[in-house]
């Protein structure tokens, strides 16, 4: 089973405030020096507060077999980001969340892949979805090697201990989520199961991730006419 090439799909280019400035193909947006574009990173969370992680499939072109958040991708230009993300969750995990996804923060990051020479400059909307316990997922083996649930405390410790096992954006999006959860200590969908709140101070700087210098984009994006086709995965 192989994934169709998404290189010609369109992504939405943005300025450093997240305002739309046009579109470009996935290929062009990831060629050095890269163009800042809109993306999403979804976390699904169960009633006990654990987060769902996916191990990226071996067959992926980028970061195969590394662990990432539940699912991520690029929204179709012009579409509501939670709609694009919900569809992507359904495609990758074989499961459609009932409650809508909520945006909990933005992680702007820049990363280069030394192996492929491709560049990531993403304006990454971090989305959270609350789900019931005991769900059966049917992940697409072309996308996902494995799934596992982990508490946010354990995840932060593992990220610090073995960063090379994780996708480079996971640290940043996890910190955004942690900041959000610190500000709203109880989980709205499961008041009976209070989230074990991490002992971190709420005054911690929001950009504690080493891989997230939110450098403003200097290269000028090339706007082209937007055509809605397929949600690009990352």
């Amino acid at each position: 089973m192989t994934t169709p090439s998404r290189e010609s799909d369109l992504v939405e280019l943005v300025d450093d405030q997240g305002g739309s400035t046009g579109t470009a193909s996935v290929r062009d947006a990831h060629e050095a020096p890269g163009m800042l574009h809109r993306a999403f990173s979804v976390f699904l969370r169960d009633p006990s507060g654990r987060l769902l992680l996916q191990q990226r499939a071996a067959v992926k072109t980028r970061f195969p077999l590394r662990w990432g958040n539940t699912c991520c991708g690029h929204p179709v230009p012009g579409e509501d980001i939670t709609v694009s993300a919900g569809r992507r969750v359904a495609e990758e995990l074989g499961f459609t969340p009932e409650a809508p996804l909520r945006e909990v923060g933005v992680h702007v990051y820049f990363a280069t892949d030394p192996v492929t020479g491709r560049v990531e400059r993403e304006y990454d909307h971090v989305l959270l979805g609350e789900v019931a316990g005991g769900i059966t997922f049917r992940p697409d083996p072309g996308e996902v090697a494995r799934l596992r649930w982990v508490s946010i405390e354990d995840l932060r410790q593992e990220l610090a201990a073995t960063p090379e096992s994780y996708a480079p954006w996971l640290d940043g999006v996890t910190e955004r989520l942690a900041t959000h959860l610190d500000a709203t200590p109880s989980s709205p969908s499961s008041p009976s199961a209070p989230l074990p709140s991490p002992p971190s101070s709420p005054s911690a700087p929001p950009s504690s991730s080493p891989s997230s210098p939110s450098a403003p984009l200097s290269s000028s994006p090339s706007p082209s006419s937007s055509s809605a086709e397929g949600t690009g995965g990352r």
């Binding site: 089973m1 192989t2 071996a58 992926k60 077999l65 030394p114 090697a145």
Partner: protein
Amino acid sequence: MRIVTGPTDRVVIVGAGLAGLACALHLAAAGRQVTVVERESVPGGRAGRLSANGYEFDTGPTVLTMPELIAEPMEAVGENLGDWLELTPLDPAYRAYYPDGSTLDVRTDTTRMAAEIARVCGAREADGYLRFVDFSRRLWQLERDHFIDKNLDTPFDLVNLNLLKLLGMGAFRRLQPKIGEYFRDPRTQRIFSFQAMYAGLAPHDALAVYAVIAYLDSVAGVYFPKGGMHAVPKALAAVAEKHGVTFRYDTTVERVTTANGRATGVLTSGGEHIRADVVVLNPDLPVAYRDLLPPRRRLRRLKYSPSCVVLHIGSSQAYSKIAHHNIHFGTAWKGTFDEVIRKGLLMSDPSLLVTNPTHTDPTVAPHGRQTYYVLAPTPNLEDGPIDWRRGMDKRYADELLGVLEQRGYVGFRDGVEVQRIITPADWADDGMAAGTPFAASHTFAQTGPFRPSNMHPTLPNVVFTGSGTQPGVGVPMVLISGKLAAGRITGGVA
């Protein structure tokens, strides 16, 4: 045929791989003074040995076919294979496992194999198998006598009546449709065409001439030497030593020395100059050109075979239902070849070879323990630039263990006592071009007279041997390449 000019009395062979050893024996038989210089402390090259916690692992090839090709260099010096190696025929040669849950035992006794195919796939399929055996046997005989076991200098060396015979047999059409003429069941099609991967190609891209690989391992017989595959180079080296060949182990050659357009010997990393009339190079051919020989302006660009990840596992878990060699086919077939060869990706639905040497020879593990050799095809480092360091090796090994547990190796992880992971990065570190142990692929443009020659284009007394030159990759081919290299020096064979 081109032969080495000038004196040929003293020969230095760099590398005690199977080809270098076979070459040494043929040269000793022809009265040459032979010195083999080897980087490691044991012979074998790719057919090496890894010892850990009482487990002995073969690091290279695990499937041994055509023992007569091991016997040949021994007989050249008047020795008998049976006095030096104890070979056990494997029955079945392979057990194949298919995604639908069925299994098929590959038996080399054609009558019993026909019965097995009739049991699993029906009588008509068995009839096709018997026709395939006839076809592939004739193919092997023709190819061996007239094209493989022969030094080829130009394509015109191929032009003889036998070429017409091969053409008439459809040997230059594609393998996949040729296999389709004999087999209708996808399971038998796979078992008689997956070997194209050894030649570096998908069955739909390979020439039908490569049906000979299927013939060699599915019809001619698969053997296991007592003590493991490493017993083969050990035996060849012992015979060579007995017949006067000098071995210099733990000695790395820095470069070939030259003067007046000829090689004069080799320089070791210890600064010693070993003089020679002729130098034979057994390292991977592109690496020999790159590291050992004077720089050349225009190096030929080669297309390489896919590589593999190998897991060496020492385990407390035994599985009574498996055979010595087990092939686990994934659901995808053409897609798997596309992923690994064309797209340079890891397999989404892996097909794996699992060899269980202790199944046949319990002495290669501590008492009551098992050894497993798990081979997963992967892209080579040119087709799939995967960073195998920084934990990727362990992550992929873990993925493969998960696949094995799903395919029926219940409790496989829990049984692991020793694990060694070999990735394309390790093959590259060991001196294999593009990080693949399978050398340049056998496309038409890299086969026969079109494969890199075993003679240096300008240095008249430098000869190559091994899988990177003619005739090609695999234990049978490299043993023949040792003889062909010797023939360039003595003018004696073919």
